[in-house]
């Protein structure tokens, strides 16, 4: 079922329009407060903003603020199942009855609802836990039951709100595989912070920042060639945004970044971005001989230890250096340094 969503929530300052094709999984990315939950709430019908139009498979679910009398289909009649980061299994029902709840609520007889439920529990790999109470399940098991419960309701659209954010990392890979399998061919919106979720589960991503869509495209494309600050951070890349002048990306401070042009070269004066890995950035105390093409005079703003390296923050730029190098350079916040990155390590493309 195709979903069309457009909404304008004045108070929250969210103005978003997006589409999800039939059978497509769309990842909704963005920092906290960027409007992801608002978008999800409007689709689910728990939130009615000033202006919104939601059409699912040709059925108008919400149509408010466009002048006419307006349409607001009640949440239970929308066929949009919701799955959040907490499994929220009904604590007084067994796993099986939790999953059978959807079919029962839409008129199935007890026996057939329970058969359906058992099939979905098997499908997500927790069939043997059918008789357990939610309190007797681990977080990962509970979330699997919740997935089965959402699917058993046979929704036209599945809404996943950070479905793996609250789980132990040890159970993530397998749950992600299960989700990938059951979400195939299913129209789904998944809100996530995890680039791996976006890559593995979603066909396409939409990035929201401050209530607006700032970037969208095929998952792999967006994460390897990010154009927004948030997507770049997810992808673990440094991002310089500017305009294309004389074969380089020139940012607001007049800094020119040279690199390999990816795809169509941007037009002169058009918006363009440069991205590179923090690991490709070298840090020096003073100007380097040989005048490399990408050298930036910056002030260190923060030093942050990562797994086995030191990440040096300098405004929006980052460099990863070894602990030894950091010690030899005497890095500390406030220090003026030169960041150097080879042009071959930089990708430049139109924004």
């Amino acid at each position: 079922m195709t979903l069309e969503l457009s909404l304008h929530a004045t108070e929250r300052d969210v103005e978003v329009a997006l589409e999800v094709a039939d059978g497509e999984t769309l990842a909704l990315l963005g920092p906290n407060g960027s409007g992801k939950s608002t978008a999800l709430g409007v689709v689910a019908g728990t939130l009615v903003p000033e202006r919104a139009r939601v059409v699912l498979g040709g059925r108008v679910l919400t149509d408010v603020g466009s002048g006419a009398r307006g349409t607001r289909v009640a949440p239970h009649a929308r066929r949009t199942a919701l799955l959040g980061q907490d499994a929220l299994l009904f604590p007084h029902l067994s796993a099986l009855d939790n999953v059978a709840f959807g079919p029962r609520s839409t008129g199935a007889r007890r026996a057939s609802a329970r058969r359906t439920a058992q099939r979905w529990l098997d499908e997500v790999g927790v069939g043997e836990l059918a008789e357990r109470r939610p309190a007797q399940l681990s977080g990962g098991q509970a979330q699997r039951v919740a997935v089965a419960r959402a699917l058993a309701a046979e929704p036209d659209l599945l809404l996943l709100d950070e479905p793996m954010a609250a789980l132990d990392v040890a159970v993530l890979p397998e749950l992600r595989r299960t989700l990938r399998r059951v979400l195939a061919e299913r129209t789904t919106i998944v809100v996530t912070h995890d680039p791996l979720d976006a890559l593995m589960l979603a066909d396409r991503v939409v990035v929201l920042e401050r209530g607006r869509v700032v970037e969208q495209g095929v998952s792999q494309e967006v994460l390897s060639r990010p154009r927004s600050a948030f997507a770049a951070r997810l992808a673990g890349l440094d991002l310089v945004v500017g305009t294309w002048r004389d074969g380089a990306v020139v940012d607001a401070d007049g800094r020119a970044v040279h690199g390999r042009v990816v795809g169509e070269p941007p037009a002169e004066g058009a918006a363009a971005v440069a991205t590179f890995r923090p690991g490709a950035v070298a840090v020096y105390r003073e100007a380097v001989a040989g005048s490399p093409r990408n050298a930036f005079d910056v002030v260190v703003t923060e030093i942050e230890p990562t797994a086995d390296l030191i990440r040096v923050h300098a405004g929006a730029l980052h460099a990863d250096v070894t602990v030894q190098a950091a010690a030899e350079l005497g890095l500390e916040p406030g220090l003026r340094v030169v960041l150097v990155v080879k042009a071959t390590e930089v990708a430049v493309y139109a924004r």
């Binding site: 239970h76 919701l82 604590p91």
Partner: protein, 256 residues
């Protein structure tokens, strides 16, 4: 972290203040005649009437109070706060005033008196009036207790249930109420206890007719004049019932 040592003194005084009168009652009981005192005809009639009317008013509290609590806990509308305060007024209102109010509503010359008369219904000074008086004073106990449980449980499960296709009635029946069942049970127990002890509203609105409107508290009050030993014996019965009720409510909450 410990409390200041001096706090123990007023705390112990308070506990003694509550417990000592109970001890006094027990000490005053005429154990030799206890059996015959509490099984006299008027005692048995009062006890049976009390149990019957309290059970009926508890049922009425559940039927009326559950929807009230759901509305108060799950909706926001202008004037809700004022409405809640008014509905809970009987908690702080002197029961005698409640009885008077009921009398001027349902009594013969009351607000609805002539309408009820036309229907051939006489409410005041009947067993029905006892139940109504008890319901009037006990209803807020159930509503407060259940509304608190509903707010604590939150709406998250209900949102999920609705997204799975459950109609509001199905959500209420299969999710909301089962989740707050302990709160509902302790609210009902409180309402039953309050009904059992009801005196002021009952005597004002229902009078004191043996077997029809004279409940146990009324019987105790009357016996106090003529047969103090019987009054004390019946009082002890009410104390025992109250202790049982508290024990029941506590285990109910423990199961939460």
């Amino acid at each position: 972290m410990g409390v200041p040592r001096w706090v123990w003194v007023p705390a112990a005084l308070g506990a003694a203040f509550v417990l000592l009168p109970l001890v006094a009652i027990v000490a005053r009981v005429d154990w030799g005649d206890f059996g015959s005192l509490i099984t006299s005809e008027s005692s048995r009639a009062a006890f049976a009437l009390s149990l019957k009317t309290s059970a009926a008013s508890t049922l009425a509290c559940v039927v009326l109070g559950v929807p009230m609590a759901v509305v108060l806990a799950r909706h926001e509308f202008p004037g809700l706060g004022v409405l809640r305060s008014l509905v809970l007024l009987p908690l702080v209102l002197p029961p005698v005033v409640g009885g008077l109010a009921l009398l001027y509503t349902f009594g013969r010359r009351g607000l609805l008196g002539s309408e009820l008369d036309a229907l051939g219904v006489q409410v005041a000074f009947s067993t029905l009036a006892v139940v109504m008086a008890q319901t009037f004073v006990a209803l807020p106990f159930l509503v407060v207790s259940l509304e608190g449980a509903l707010r604590t449980a939150g709406e998250r499960y209900e949102v999920v249930a609705a997204s799975l296709g459950a109609r509001p009635t199905t959500v209420l029946r299969r999710i909301t109420l089962p989740l707050v069942l302990p709160g509902l049970a302790s609210g009902a127990v409180l309402a039953f206890a309050r009904s059992l002890g009801e005196f002021g509203a009952t005597i004002t609105f229902a009078g004191s007719l043996q077997g029809r409107t004279r409940t146990l508290p009324l019987e105790i009050y009357l016996q106090r004049e003529t047969d103090p030993d019987a009054a004390v014996a019946l009082a002890l019965v009410l104390v025992v019932v109250a202790v049982l009720v508290i024990g029941f409510a506590r285990t109910g909450r423990g199961a939460l």
